[in-house]
């Protein structure tokens, strides 16, 4: 165990990289989720169709394949990303596809009467979504988004395979340099567990914030 402590600078660096990767791709994934999820309600057939193509493509192929594609294939076309950016893009685009379904189903779950009431008030489409539908849909999304955030954190471990020096990458370095196996992997599993537990608490906290005065929506569940 003392030998592992010698490597704590590496572990700290890896932890920071993992957290950076998770947060940056989470932001990207949330933006994509809303853009693509709301596109599904577009009146333009083309917009709806491209949203579905995006969804099926990123949900249907494996995340590692997407990451390798971005890291090894795109440079052949002259598009070169630094590894960290490729990792963020791959994680964000992948989770965004799952997130867009969350946004779509949450908006659909808002009662029909609300859609109609907004229309009766002569709200524009923008107003309808901005003031009526989205505020009611967001609390429904949060628990599922919380689960996706954990999936995202776990997905970032795969980024170690495209040379990003995150926690998982560091565990391999420590294993190779010290010939220890149990300790590095156990320590890294525990660090991952701590990070994701913090994320779980954070989601629960937000859930409670949104639940205040809105029991009608949250008690029905997602």
């Amino acid at each position: 165990m003392e030998e592992i402590l010698e490597y704590s600078p590496l572990l700290i660096k890896g932890t920071i990289t993992t957290i950076e990767l998770t947060l940056a791709s989470a932001v990207l994934a949330v933006i994509i989720s809303f853009v693509v999820g709301l596109s599904r309600f577009s009146r333009l057939r083309f917009v709806r169709a491209s949203a579905i193509v995006y969804l099926e493509f990123f949900r249907g192929t494996s995340a590692i394949v997407q990451m390798f594609f971005m890291f090894y294939v795109l440079p052949l076309f002259g598009v070169t990303f630094p590894p960290l950016l490729a990792g963020i893009l791959a994680c964000g685009l992948n989770l965004g596809s799952y997130g867009s379904e969350v946004v779509r189903s949450a908006v659909e779950s808002v009662g029909r009467g609300q859609h109609e009431a907004a229309q009766a008030l002569n709200y524009s489409i923008y107003q309808r979504f901005r003031y009526v539908l989205i505020p009611q849909a967001v609390p429904v999304m949060i628990p599922t988004f919380g689960n996706l955030l954990i999936e995202l954190l776990k997905l970032t471990a795969v980024a170690s395979l495209i040379t990003i020096s995150d926690l998982t990458f560091m565990s391999q370095i420590i294993r190779v340099q010290t010939a220890l196996t149990l300790e590095p992997f156990l320590v890294i599993l525990v660090i991952y567990f701590i990070i994701s537990s913090v994320l779980v608490w954070f989601t629960k906290w937000i859930e409670r914030k949104f639940a205040a005065g809105r029991h009608t929506i949250t008690s029905k569940g997602a």
Binding site: E56, F57, R59, G60, T61, S62, A63, I64, V65, Q66, F68, F69, Y72, V73, L76, F77, I150, L153, K154, L155, T156, A157, V158, S160, L161, T168, S171, Q172, R175, T181, L182, F185, L186, I188, L189, Y192, F193, S196, S197, V200
Partner: protein, 222 residues
């Protein structure tokens, strides 16, 4: 960068073999996940507080940490304790254990969603535990479990490329091995993506049909 069909023809037979390994890993892993998940669900619902809490936190630990690190753990740590597993077996065990934490939630939710009145009715009829389960609870609990369990099968299929990290030669690894020895990335990576789409898009469609088929009908609420 030009697309070369010669590479495709050379690669296809190998990839077919890889796909077989991938499918095997998926099904064996899923079988394990379904069985272990049921066991875990029963432990989590145990009347003993200690058993329930311990199994809950073990399950959360596995669920909140990356499968990739767990696979490394099985692959590198167990041999130090004299347990030698082939890469395929280690991979399948890893997949099975990781996803058993997900399936256990499906089982638990399925059983808990049966209304309390049904339990009480069985008691009123003087049914024993076996009769209650097999005649009253399970027939109502199982149909809603089938679609999510089918969805996890698809998720597991998409996670199998992780097995390449512990040297299992499945679909994705066939492509990376070919890429690395021939310096061709475009065709192998694209083909892997196409293979995944060919399998997972129809599978997702089938799962959606299954979901519609097993949709609870006319329960008053929901």
């Amino acid at each position: 960068m030009d697309w070369s069909w010669a590479v495709v023809y050379e690669l296809l037979p190998k990839m077919w073999e890889g796909l077989i390994v991938t499918v095997q890993a998926t099904f064996v892993g899923a079988l394990l996940a379904y069985v272990l998940g049921l066991l875990l669900a029963l432990l989590k619902m145990s009347k003993s507080w200690i058993v329930a809490k311990t199994s809950y936190w073990i399950s959360e630990f596995v669920r909140r940490t990356p499968l990739l690190v767990q696979l490394y753990f099985l692959f590198y740590v167990l041999p130090d304790f004299g347990i030698f597993l082939s890469p395929f077996v280690a991979g399948v065990i890893g997949l099975g254990i990781h996803f058993s934490t997900y399936t256990s939630e499906v089982y638990r939710a399925g059983i808990e969603n049966v209304p309390t009145g049904q339990w009480e009715a069985s008691r009123a009829l003087n049914y024993n535990a076996y009769q209650t389960m097999s005649y009253v609870i399970l027939p109502q609990a199982i149909p809603p479990m089938i679609p999510p369990l089918a969805n996890y099968l698809i998720t597991m299929f998409k996670e199998t490329p992780l097995l390449s990290a512990i040297t299992v030669v499945e679909l994705f690894n066939v492509a990376t091995i070919f890429s690395n020895s021939n310096y061709k990335y475009l065709e192998p990576m694209t083909l892997v993506g196409v293979f995944f789409l060919i399998v997972s898009v129809p599978a997702a469609y089938a799962a959606m049909k299954l979901e519609q088929h097993f949709k609870p009908k006319g329960t008053g609420f929901s």
